[in-house]
């Protein structure tokens, strides 16, 4: 299809005739304002209107947000089984322009092998620029953009969100963006089934759902037990279970250090568990080193914080100090990495 138009022309703006101006222009303007004053007792409820009150009295009235609206990223998990859609593939972490996503891959506590699930997933909401790239690149449709925008808080640090705070049920997303979810629902669940197969125990269950799933499994086991012979299968505590907010920072540091180490070892190609064994080993070694450096730095950081007289409130001060330490640790790890490279 090609349309050929004749091109437009150059128009010299008409500045208005040099007529005698005795105030008629001002009266015209006043008439316009008068018109608006008269019309202001009705609402401007239609895009084709140009008069009427267009204020939305926000806390009382709310505009329905369009589906595409994006504010901050959230993580989805299945309503019934509590399985998270995220497989810790690091795509979002790589694409994030301000680098605020930090992921720690879950590992099998017995074999140490990587499991397609995130042990911890941290997004620094305070630095997030809401570009939506993470949701776009996510191959598992796990990370989506939330519609919740009332995030203001007195504590800056509260805006660093961990997995428990990020997780939302699929039904929530389905409610805010029905057509978007309908498009990807089938493939997302198919992919989820695949990754669930490779998950063990409670790893990959959304933190909110852990207790519930435990109870469900216990119930299932009980009913099984009534059918078959009684077998004791105590559930092991997993990393996802114990995630109090206080050691968030330490985790962040660990993740950063580990990631740095991993990048170092495998040129970014070893994030999948099917990586060659040699590389994996090197990565592990580097991770341990980095973690040690991080720990050291964290300790020193905490020590200095306790000395500091300006932080009398123990929890807040500690938290902050820990975070500071985390950053330091990350830097130390990076440095270590660089040095290692140079040598």
């Amino acid at each position: 299809m090609t349309i050929q138009f004749e091109r437009g022309k150059v128009v010299v703006i008409d500045r208005g005739a040099r007529k005698l101006r005795v105030g008629q222009g001002m009266l015209k303007g006043m008439a316009v304002v008068w018109h608006h004053w008269l019309k202001s007792f009705q609402k401007l409820d239609n895009f084709s209107k140009t008069a009427g009150v267009f204020t939305v009295e926000y806390p009382d009235e709310r505009i329905k947000l369009p589906e595409a609206y994006r504010n901050m990223p959230i993580l989805l998990y299945d309503d019934e089984t509590g399985q998270e859609l995220c497989t810790a593939c690091f795509q979002c972490q790589r694409v994030c322009p301000p680098q605020v996503i930090h992921i720690n891959q879950a590992r099998n506590p017995e074999t140490g092998k990587a499991i397609p699930a995130a042990a911890e997933f941290i997004i620094e909401y305070d630095a997030c620029m809401s570009c939506g790239f993470c949701a776009e690149v996510c191959p598992f449709d796990s990370i989506k953009m939330d519609h919740e925008f009332e995030l203001s808080t007195e504590d800056h640090a509260e805006l660093t969100m961990n997995k428990a705070q990020l997780s939302r049920p699929v039904s929530y997303y389905e409610r805010i963006a029905p057509t978007f979810w309908a498009e990807v629902k089938a493939s997302a669940y198919k992919k989820l089934q695949n990754s669930v197969k490779r998950r063990v125990d409670l790893i990959g269950i959304a933190p909110q759902m852990v207790e519930k799933v435990k109870a469900m499994r216990a119930a299932a086991a009980e009913s099984e037990a009534t059918e078959a012979a009684p077998s004791s299968a105590p559930t092991k505590p997993s990393a996802a279970e114990t995630s109090p907010a206080t050691d968030k920072a330490a985790k962040l540091a660990a993740i950063r250090a580990a990631n740095a180490a991993k990048q170092d070892a495998g040129n970014g190609g070893t994030s999948t568990p099917e990586a060659p064994a040699g590389d994996d080993k090197a990565a592990k070694l580097a991770a341990i080193r980095a973690a040690n450096a991080a720990k050291k730095a964290a300790e020193s950081g905490e020590g200095s914080a306790s000395v500091a007289p300006a932080a009398p409130e123990a929890p807040a001060g500690d938290d902050k100090a820990a975070r500071l330490a985390a950053i330091r640790a990350a830097n130390a790890a990076k440095k270590a990495k660089d040095e290692q490279e140079n040598s």
Partner: protein, 178 residues
């Protein structure tokens, strides 16, 4: 109508202003860029200096610019961009001129060594070059000779160093060398 291609400009300039243009390797446009080997160290250094545009001697910049304006009718100076080729040890300053009827830009480039980045200023001829040149001075440390007030434009006056140079540290506040 007034479109002059980059090669035509070169030829005209060599004819009318001998000794202004510098010989350069032409850039061959690759059909498909080969995916590079992954890793921190790329296989070879990219060849930045090959170009199809006219590169002029720094001292004769004004002649070239006035030639563009008066002989070619490219009266509109749109942009001055500085590129720091650290590995080649030089700054490239890209001047972009337009003809006010229509058509693409004509580009002339000036290459100066990194340790003596002196270029004649175009501000006396095009006052519009003022902020461009001050920006280039502020961020790259290019000295435009003859500029009426070559002072920092973005950074504060006491700032040391030129933040857009590639050897300016990304963290901290001193050069790597120190």
């Amino acid at each position: 109508m007034p479109s002059i291609t980059a090669t035509a400009l070169r030829e005209r300039m060599e004819r009318d202003l001998p000794g202004v243009a510098v010989a350069t390797r032409p850039r061959v446009v690759e059909a498909e860029s080969k995916p590079k080997a992954k890793g921190k160290h790329a296989a070879e250094r990219p060849d930045f200096l090959a170009t199809n545009d006219t590169v002029v001697v720094a001292d004769r910049l004004r002649d070239a610019a006035i030639y563009l304006r008066d002989a070619c009718g490219y009266t509109y100076l749109s942009d001055i961009a500085v590129v720091d080729y650290l590995d080649d040890g030089l700054f490239e300053i890209v001047y972009r001129f337009y003809h006010l009827d229509d058509g693409d830009a004509l580009v002339i480039k000036v290459r100066v060594p990194r340790d003596a980045p002196n270029v004649p200023s175009l501000t006396p001829i095009w006052p519009g070059a003022d902020f461009h040149e001050r920006e280039a001075f502020d961020l790259f440390g290019i000295v435009f000779e003859g500029h009426p007030s070559l002072i920092r434009i973005y950074m504060w006056d006491e700032f040391e160093g030129y933040p857009m140079r590639r050897d300016f540290p990304k963290q901290g506040d001193k050069y790597i060398d120190e």
